[in-house]
Symmetry: C2
Subunit: 211 residues, 2 copies
Protein backbone atom coordinates (compact mmCIF):
# COMPACT_ATOMS: atom_id res chain seq x y z
CA UNK A 1 0.00 0.00 0.00
CA UNK A 2 1.17 3.52 -0.60
CA UNK A 3 1.82 6.62 1.48
CA UNK A 4 -0.02 9.44 -0.26
CA UNK A 5 0.32 13.20 0.09
CA UNK A 6 -2.91 15.12 -0.60
CA UNK A 7 -2.94 18.90 -0.87
CA UNK A 8 -6.37 20.33 -0.09
CA UNK A 9 -8.37 23.53 0.31
CA UNK A 10 -7.55 27.09 -0.70
CA UNK A 11 -4.60 29.22 0.36
CA UNK A 12 -4.65 32.95 1.16
CA UNK A 13 -2.37 35.74 -0.01
CA UNK A 14 -2.66 38.76 2.25
CA UNK A 15 -2.52 42.36 0.98
CA UNK A 16 -2.34 43.68 4.55
CA UNK A 17 -3.23 42.20 7.98
CA UNK A 18 -6.95 42.04 7.06
CA UNK A 19 -7.52 41.73 3.31
CA UNK A 20 -6.51 38.74 1.21
CA UNK A 21 -6.92 37.08 -2.14
CA UNK A 22 -8.32 33.52 -2.18
CA UNK A 23 -10.93 31.22 -3.74
CA UNK A 24 -13.90 29.24 -2.47
CA UNK A 25 -12.24 25.82 -2.33
CA UNK A 26 -13.83 23.98 0.61
CA UNK A 27 -11.40 21.06 1.01
CA UNK A 28 -14.27 18.60 0.44
CA UNK A 29 -12.60 16.90 -2.55
CA UNK A 30 -9.38 16.57 -0.53
CA UNK A 31 -11.27 15.15 2.45
CA UNK A 32 -13.15 12.69 0.21
CA UNK A 33 -9.90 11.59 -1.47
CA UNK A 34 -8.26 11.11 1.94
CA UNK A 35 -11.18 9.00 3.16
CA UNK A 36 -11.18 6.91 -0.02
CA UNK A 37 -7.39 6.41 0.11
CA UNK A 38 -7.48 5.37 3.76
CA UNK A 39 -10.38 3.02 3.03
CA UNK A 40 -8.26 1.45 0.27
CA UNK A 41 -5.50 0.82 2.83
CA UNK A 42 -3.17 3.72 2.06
CA UNK A 43 -1.51 6.09 4.53
CA UNK A 44 -2.45 9.74 4.02
CA UNK A 45 -0.74 13.05 4.80
CA UNK A 46 -2.84 16.16 4.05
CA UNK A 47 -1.37 19.62 3.61
CA UNK A 48 -4.42 21.87 3.89
CA UNK A 49 -5.19 25.56 3.64
CA UNK A 50 -7.85 27.11 5.95
CA UNK A 51 -11.07 25.05 5.66
CA UNK A 52 -13.97 24.10 7.90
CA UNK A 53 -14.30 20.59 6.47
CA UNK A 54 -13.38 17.66 8.77
CA UNK A 55 -10.56 15.40 7.57
CA UNK A 56 -10.44 11.68 8.46
CA UNK A 57 -8.93 11.13 11.91
CA UNK A 58 -6.53 8.56 10.46
CA UNK A 59 -4.87 11.18 8.24
CA UNK A 60 -1.96 13.37 9.33
CA UNK A 61 -3.00 16.98 8.68
CA UNK A 62 -0.50 19.82 8.25
CA UNK A 63 -2.32 23.19 8.26
CA UNK A 64 -0.98 26.11 6.20
CA UNK A 65 -2.21 29.57 5.19
CA UNK A 66 -0.25 30.81 2.17
CA UNK A 67 0.84 29.13 -1.05
CA UNK A 68 4.51 29.33 -0.06
CA UNK A 69 3.70 27.58 3.22
CA UNK A 70 1.80 24.90 1.27
CA UNK A 71 4.77 24.50 -1.08
CA UNK A 72 7.29 24.05 1.74
CA UNK A 73 5.05 21.68 3.72
CA UNK A 74 4.19 19.65 0.60
CA UNK A 75 7.80 19.34 -0.59
CA UNK A 76 8.89 18.22 2.89
CA UNK A 77 6.04 15.72 3.28
CA UNK A 78 6.52 14.38 -0.26
CA UNK A 79 10.00 13.06 0.57
CA UNK A 80 8.46 10.24 2.59
CA UNK A 81 5.53 9.61 0.24
CA UNK A 82 5.03 7.37 -2.78
CA UNK A 83 2.78 9.82 -4.55
CA UNK A 84 0.92 13.10 -4.34
CA UNK A 85 -2.57 14.26 -5.31
CA UNK A 86 -2.88 18.01 -5.76
CA UNK A 87 -6.52 18.61 -4.86
CA UNK A 88 -5.82 22.03 -3.31
CA UNK A 89 -6.63 25.29 -5.08
CA UNK A 90 -3.61 27.35 -4.01
CA UNK A 91 -3.98 31.07 -4.54
CA UNK A 92 -1.80 31.58 -7.62
CA UNK A 93 -1.22 35.33 -7.37
CA UNK A 94 0.13 37.38 -4.49
CA UNK A 95 0.65 41.12 -4.03
CA UNK A 96 4.14 42.29 -4.93
CA UNK A 97 4.05 44.37 -1.74
CA UNK A 98 2.35 43.28 1.49
CA UNK A 99 1.52 46.06 3.95
CA UNK A 100 2.20 45.53 7.64
CA UNK A 101 -0.73 47.76 8.69
CA UNK A 102 -4.32 47.83 7.43
CA UNK A 103 -4.58 50.20 4.46
CA UNK A 104 -6.81 53.20 5.13
CA UNK A 105 -9.25 53.98 2.32
CA UNK A 106 -8.49 57.19 0.46
CA UNK A 107 -11.34 57.41 -2.05
CA UNK A 108 -8.82 56.81 -4.84
CA UNK A 109 -8.40 53.64 -6.92
CA UNK A 110 -5.72 51.31 -5.64
CA UNK A 111 -3.20 49.98 -8.13
CA UNK A 112 -2.06 46.55 -7.10
CA UNK A 113 0.73 44.56 -8.71
CA UNK A 114 0.21 40.83 -8.35
CA UNK A 115 2.92 38.29 -9.04
CA UNK A 116 2.50 34.56 -9.51
CA UNK A 117 3.02 32.31 -6.51
CA UNK A 118 5.06 29.13 -6.78
CA UNK A 119 3.19 26.23 -8.40
CA UNK A 120 2.91 23.48 -5.77
CA UNK A 121 1.96 20.57 -8.07
CA UNK A 122 4.45 21.62 -10.76
CA UNK A 123 7.22 21.69 -8.15
CA UNK A 124 6.28 18.19 -6.94
CA UNK A 125 6.03 16.97 -10.56
CA UNK A 126 9.35 18.44 -11.59
CA UNK A 127 11.26 17.18 -8.56
CA UNK A 128 9.69 13.74 -8.06
CA UNK A 129 11.92 10.71 -7.94
CA UNK A 130 11.49 7.96 -10.54
CA UNK A 131 9.55 5.88 -8.00
CA UNK A 132 7.12 8.71 -7.14
CA UNK A 133 3.97 9.83 -8.92
CA UNK A 134 1.95 13.04 -9.02
CA UNK A 135 -1.72 13.53 -9.87
CA UNK A 136 -2.80 17.09 -10.62
CA UNK A 137 -6.16 18.85 -10.73
CA UNK A 138 -6.96 21.41 -13.42
CA UNK A 139 -9.91 23.72 -12.88
CA UNK A 140 -10.79 25.67 -15.99
CA UNK A 141 -13.80 27.64 -17.19
CA UNK A 142 -13.02 27.30 -20.93
CA UNK A 143 -10.92 25.06 -23.23
CA UNK A 144 -10.95 22.57 -20.37
CA UNK A 145 -9.48 19.55 -22.17
CA UNK A 146 -6.76 21.57 -23.92
CA UNK A 147 -5.66 23.46 -20.84
CA UNK A 148 -5.67 20.32 -18.70
CA UNK A 149 -3.40 18.62 -21.27
CA UNK A 150 -1.00 21.57 -21.22
CA UNK A 151 -0.91 21.51 -17.41
CA UNK A 152 -0.37 17.73 -17.45
CA UNK A 153 2.78 18.23 -19.49
CA UNK A 154 4.22 21.39 -17.94
CA UNK A 155 3.61 20.10 -14.42
CA UNK A 156 5.04 16.63 -15.20
CA UNK A 157 1.99 14.86 -13.80
CA UNK A 158 1.29 11.17 -14.22
CA UNK A 159 -2.46 11.78 -14.26
CA UNK A 160 -4.55 14.95 -14.45
CA UNK A 161 -8.08 15.43 -13.14
CA UNK A 162 -9.91 18.06 -15.20
CA UNK A 163 -12.93 19.77 -13.66
CA UNK A 164 -14.90 22.99 -13.87
CA UNK A 165 -15.80 25.83 -11.51
CA UNK A 166 -19.01 23.98 -10.55
CA UNK A 167 -16.71 21.81 -8.38
CA UNK A 168 -15.86 24.68 -6.04
CA UNK A 169 -17.61 24.61 -2.69
CA UNK A 170 -20.02 21.94 -3.97
CA UNK A 171 -20.87 18.41 -2.84
CA UNK A 172 -20.78 17.25 -6.44
CA UNK A 173 -18.05 16.98 -9.02
CA UNK A 174 -17.86 16.13 -12.71
CA UNK A 175 -14.37 15.20 -13.83
CA UNK A 176 -12.34 13.76 -16.68
CA UNK A 177 -9.22 11.78 -15.80
CA UNK A 178 -6.36 12.11 -18.29
CA UNK A 179 -3.35 9.81 -18.43
CA UNK A 180 0.22 11.06 -18.97
CA UNK A 181 -0.32 11.12 -22.74
CA UNK A 182 -3.49 13.21 -22.45
CA UNK A 183 -5.91 10.36 -23.17
CA UNK A 184 -9.20 10.50 -21.28
CA UNK A 185 -9.21 7.26 -19.30
CA UNK A 186 -12.32 7.95 -17.22
CA UNK A 187 -15.27 10.31 -16.92
CA UNK A 188 -16.68 10.40 -13.42
CA UNK A 189 -19.56 12.42 -11.99
CA UNK A 190 -21.54 12.36 -8.78
CA UNK A 191 -21.04 13.09 -5.09
CA UNK A 192 -17.43 13.98 -4.27
CA UNK A 193 -17.20 10.81 -2.12
CA UNK A 194 -18.05 8.67 -5.17
CA UNK A 195 -15.75 10.62 -7.48
CA UNK A 196 -12.94 10.31 -4.91
CA UNK A 197 -13.41 6.54 -4.59
CA UNK A 198 -13.28 6.10 -8.36
CA UNK A 199 -10.22 8.38 -8.66
CA UNK A 200 -8.35 6.42 -5.96
CA UNK A 201 -9.20 3.20 -7.78
CA UNK A 202 -7.92 4.56 -11.13
CA UNK A 203 -4.83 6.04 -9.51
CA UNK A 204 -4.15 2.68 -7.87
CA UNK A 205 -4.40 0.89 -11.21
CA UNK A 206 -2.21 3.37 -13.02
CA UNK A 207 0.47 4.45 -10.61
CA UNK A 208 0.68 2.86 -7.19
CA UNK A 209 1.38 -0.53 -8.78
CA UNK A 210 4.23 0.65 -11.00
CA UNK A 211 6.95 -0.07 -8.47
Amino acid sequence: MARILITSGPTRQYLDPVRYLTNASSGRMGAALAAAAIHAGHEVVIVSGPVSVAYPAAATVIPVITTDEMLVAAVNAFEDCDGAIGAAAPCDYMPHLVLSQKMAKTGEPLKLELIETADVVATLGQTKRRDQWVVGFALETEDRRFRATVKLETKHCDLMVSNGPQAIDSNQNDVELLDAKGNVIAEIHGEKEYVAKELIRHIGEHVTCRT
Copy 2:
Protein backbone atom coordinates in the same frame (compact mmCIF):
# COMPACT_ATOMS: atom_id res chain seq x y z
CA MET B 1 -38.46 46.26 22.18
CA ALA B 2 -36.68 47.04 18.93
CA ARG B 3 -36.31 45.46 15.52
CA ILE B 4 -32.58 45.36 14.83
CA LEU B 5 -30.67 44.86 11.60
CA ILE B 6 -27.28 43.18 12.05
CA THR B 7 -24.80 42.93 9.18
CA SER B 8 -22.40 40.06 9.66
CA GLY B 9 -19.51 38.14 8.12
CA PRO B 10 -17.24 39.02 5.21
CA THR B 11 -18.19 39.77 1.61
CA ARG B 12 -16.33 38.68 -1.51
CA GLN B 13 -15.30 40.66 -4.56
CA TYR B 14 -14.49 38.37 -7.47
CA LEU B 15 -11.67 39.03 -9.97
CA ASP B 16 -12.89 36.19 -12.20
CA PRO B 17 -15.14 33.15 -11.64
CA VAL B 18 -12.63 31.60 -9.22
CA ARG B 19 -10.43 34.22 -7.49
CA TYR B 20 -11.72 36.81 -5.06
CA LEU B 21 -10.70 39.38 -2.49
CA THR B 22 -12.05 38.97 1.05
CA ASN B 23 -11.10 38.84 4.75
CA ALA B 24 -11.31 36.23 7.51
CA SER B 25 -14.44 37.54 9.25
CA SER B 26 -16.25 34.48 10.62
CA GLY B 27 -19.64 35.98 11.47
CA ARG B 28 -19.18 34.95 15.12
CA MET B 29 -19.54 38.51 16.46
CA GLY B 30 -22.71 38.97 14.38
CA ALA B 31 -24.10 35.64 15.58
CA ALA B 32 -23.30 36.51 19.22
CA LEU B 33 -24.94 39.94 18.85
CA ALA B 34 -28.02 38.35 17.29
CA ALA B 35 -28.30 35.84 20.12
CA ALA B 36 -27.86 38.57 22.77
CA ALA B 37 -30.40 40.85 21.07
CA ILE B 38 -32.97 38.06 20.77
CA HIS B 39 -32.34 37.11 24.40
CA ALA B 40 -33.01 40.74 25.36
CA GLY B 41 -36.37 40.54 23.60
CA HIS B 42 -35.53 42.25 20.30
CA GLU B 43 -36.37 41.09 16.79
CA VAL B 44 -33.34 40.48 14.58
CA VAL B 45 -32.72 40.56 10.82
CA ILE B 46 -29.21 39.47 9.75
CA VAL B 47 -27.70 40.33 6.38
CA SER B 48 -24.73 37.97 6.16
CA GLY B 49 -21.90 37.25 3.76
CA PRO B 50 -20.66 33.65 3.28
CA VAL B 51 -19.93 32.14 6.72
CA SER B 52 -20.07 28.70 8.31
CA VAL B 53 -21.25 30.02 11.70
CA ALA B 54 -24.82 29.13 12.77
CA TYR B 55 -27.16 32.07 13.39
CA PRO B 56 -29.99 31.87 15.96
CA ALA B 57 -33.06 30.16 14.52
CA ALA B 58 -35.23 33.08 15.67
CA ALA B 59 -33.36 35.53 13.43
CA THR B 60 -34.29 36.24 9.81
CA VAL B 61 -31.13 35.69 7.74
CA ILE B 62 -30.59 37.24 4.31
CA PRO B 63 -27.49 35.72 2.64
CA VAL B 64 -25.36 37.83 0.28
CA ILE B 65 -21.99 37.44 -1.46
CA THR B 66 -20.71 40.86 -2.54
CA THR B 67 -20.61 44.22 -0.80
CA ASP B 68 -23.13 45.70 -3.25
CA GLU B 69 -25.52 42.86 -2.46
CA MET B 70 -25.00 43.52 1.26
CA LEU B 71 -25.68 47.21 0.71
CA VAL B 72 -28.92 46.63 -1.18
CA ALA B 73 -30.17 43.99 1.27
CA ALA B 74 -29.23 46.11 4.30
CA VAL B 75 -30.84 49.31 2.97
CA ASN B 76 -34.04 47.39 2.17
CA ALA B 77 -34.14 45.63 5.54
CA PHE B 78 -33.30 48.83 7.46
CA GLU B 79 -36.56 50.47 6.33
CA ASP B 80 -38.49 48.29 8.76
CA CYS B 81 -35.93 48.38 11.56
CA ASP B 82 -35.36 50.67 14.54
CA GLY B 83 -31.62 50.38 14.37
CA ALA B 84 -28.66 48.69 12.73
CA ILE B 85 -25.43 47.16 14.00
CA GLY B 86 -22.71 46.89 11.37
CA ALA B 87 -20.75 43.87 12.59
CA ALA B 88 -19.90 42.71 9.05
CA ALA B 89 -16.49 43.22 7.49
CA PRO B 90 -17.55 44.00 3.92
CA CYS B 91 -14.76 43.76 1.36
CA ASP B 92 -14.03 47.44 0.75
CA TYR B 93 -12.19 47.18 -2.58
CA MET B 94 -13.29 45.53 -5.80
CA PRO B 95 -11.55 45.05 -9.14
CA HIS B 96 -12.36 47.74 -11.68
CA LEU B 97 -12.74 44.97 -14.26
CA VAL B 98 -14.19 41.53 -13.48
CA LEU B 99 -13.31 38.77 -15.97
CA SER B 100 -16.03 36.35 -17.07
CA GLN B 101 -13.54 33.50 -17.55
CA LYS B 102 -10.77 32.27 -15.28
CA MET B 103 -7.54 34.16 -16.04
CA ALA B 104 -4.78 31.93 -17.36
CA LYS B 105 -1.37 32.53 -15.80
CA THR B 106 1.17 34.07 -18.16
CA GLY B 107 4.28 34.27 -15.95
CA GLU B 108 4.00 38.06 -16.02
CA PRO B 109 2.91 40.31 -13.12
CA LEU B 110 -0.75 41.22 -13.15
CA LYS B 111 -1.68 44.86 -12.73
CA LEU B 112 -4.99 45.16 -10.96
CA GLU B 113 -6.94 48.35 -10.43
CA LEU B 114 -9.11 48.17 -7.34
CA ILE B 115 -11.85 50.69 -6.61
CA GLU B 116 -13.63 51.22 -3.32
CA THR B 117 -16.94 49.46 -2.77
CA ALA B 118 -19.90 51.31 -1.28
CA ASP B 119 -19.73 51.73 2.50
CA VAL B 120 -22.69 49.84 3.98
CA VAL B 121 -22.68 51.37 7.48
CA ALA B 122 -21.99 54.89 6.15
CA THR B 123 -24.96 54.54 3.81
CA LEU B 124 -27.21 53.45 6.67
CA GLY B 125 -25.85 56.25 8.89
CA GLN B 126 -26.28 58.93 6.26
CA THR B 127 -29.79 57.89 5.27
CA LYS B 128 -31.25 56.94 8.67
CA ARG B 129 -34.48 58.57 9.81
CA ARG B 130 -34.49 60.62 13.01
CA ASP B 131 -36.01 57.70 14.89
CA GLN B 132 -33.39 55.23 13.72
CA TRP B 133 -29.91 54.51 15.11
CA VAL B 134 -26.75 52.98 13.69
CA VAL B 135 -23.87 51.30 15.55
CA GLY B 136 -20.67 50.81 13.57
CA PHE B 137 -17.60 48.63 14.03
CA ALA B 138 -14.12 49.95 13.29
CA LEU B 139 -11.32 47.44 12.90
CA GLU B 140 -7.93 49.09 12.78
CA THR B 141 -4.35 47.95 13.25
CA GLU B 142 -2.96 51.36 14.26
CA ASP B 143 -4.28 54.70 15.60
CA ARG B 144 -7.35 52.76 16.68
CA ARG B 145 -9.04 55.41 18.81
CA PHE B 146 -8.43 58.22 16.32
CA ARG B 147 -9.56 56.27 13.28
CA ALA B 148 -12.64 54.97 15.10
CA THR B 149 -13.59 58.55 15.99
CA VAL B 150 -13.18 59.66 12.37
CA LYS B 151 -15.34 56.76 11.19
CA LEU B 152 -17.94 57.56 13.86
CA GLU B 153 -18.34 61.03 12.44
CA THR B 154 -18.06 60.34 8.69
CA LYS B 155 -20.44 57.39 8.93
CA HIS B 156 -22.95 59.27 11.12
CA CYS B 157 -23.04 56.52 13.72
CA ASP B 158 -24.67 56.83 17.15
CA LEU B 159 -22.12 54.48 18.68
CA MET B 160 -18.89 52.96 17.38
CA VAL B 161 -17.28 49.71 18.50
CA SER B 162 -13.51 49.88 18.06
CA ASN B 163 -11.57 46.63 17.86
CA GLY B 164 -8.35 45.20 16.46
CA PRO B 165 -7.39 42.48 13.99
CA GLN B 166 -7.19 39.96 16.87
CA ALA B 167 -11.01 39.94 16.65
CA ILE B 168 -11.02 38.33 13.23
CA ASP B 169 -11.90 34.62 13.16
CA SER B 170 -11.45 34.45 16.94
CA ASN B 171 -13.73 33.46 19.84
CA GLN B 172 -12.53 36.45 21.83
CA ASN B 173 -12.86 40.18 21.36
CA ASP B 174 -11.48 43.26 23.08
CA VAL B 175 -13.44 46.41 22.27
CA GLU B 176 -13.93 50.03 23.19
CA LEU B 177 -17.41 51.49 22.80
CA LEU B 178 -17.48 55.15 21.75
CA ASP B 179 -20.53 57.40 22.00
CA ALA B 180 -21.52 59.87 19.28
CA LYS B 181 -19.12 62.46 20.70
CA GLY B 182 -16.18 60.04 20.65
CA ASN B 183 -16.16 59.44 24.42
CA VAL B 184 -15.21 55.92 25.48
CA ILE B 185 -18.26 54.73 27.41
CA ALA B 186 -17.18 51.12 27.90
CA GLU B 187 -14.21 48.80 27.53
CA ILE B 188 -15.24 45.18 27.14
CA HIS B 189 -13.16 42.08 26.66
CA GLY B 190 -13.80 38.36 26.78
CA GLU B 191 -15.64 35.71 24.80
CA LYS B 192 -17.61 37.20 21.90
CA GLU B 193 -20.86 36.03 23.58
CA TYR B 194 -20.03 38.12 26.67
CA VAL B 195 -18.89 41.12 24.62
CA ALA B 196 -22.09 40.88 22.56
CA LYS B 197 -24.29 40.78 25.66
CA GLU B 198 -22.59 43.86 27.11
CA LEU B 199 -22.80 45.70 23.79
CA ILE B 200 -26.53 44.98 23.47
CA ARG B 201 -27.02 46.26 27.03
CA HIS B 202 -25.11 49.49 26.32
CA ILE B 203 -26.85 49.96 22.97
CA GLY B 204 -30.17 49.48 24.75
CA GLU B 205 -29.32 52.15 27.30
CA HIS B 206 -28.08 54.64 24.76
CA VAL B 207 -30.28 54.28 21.74
CA THR B 208 -33.25 51.93 21.83
CA CYS B 209 -34.81 53.98 24.61
CA ARG B 210 -34.53 57.35 22.82
CA THR B 211 -37.92 57.07 21.13
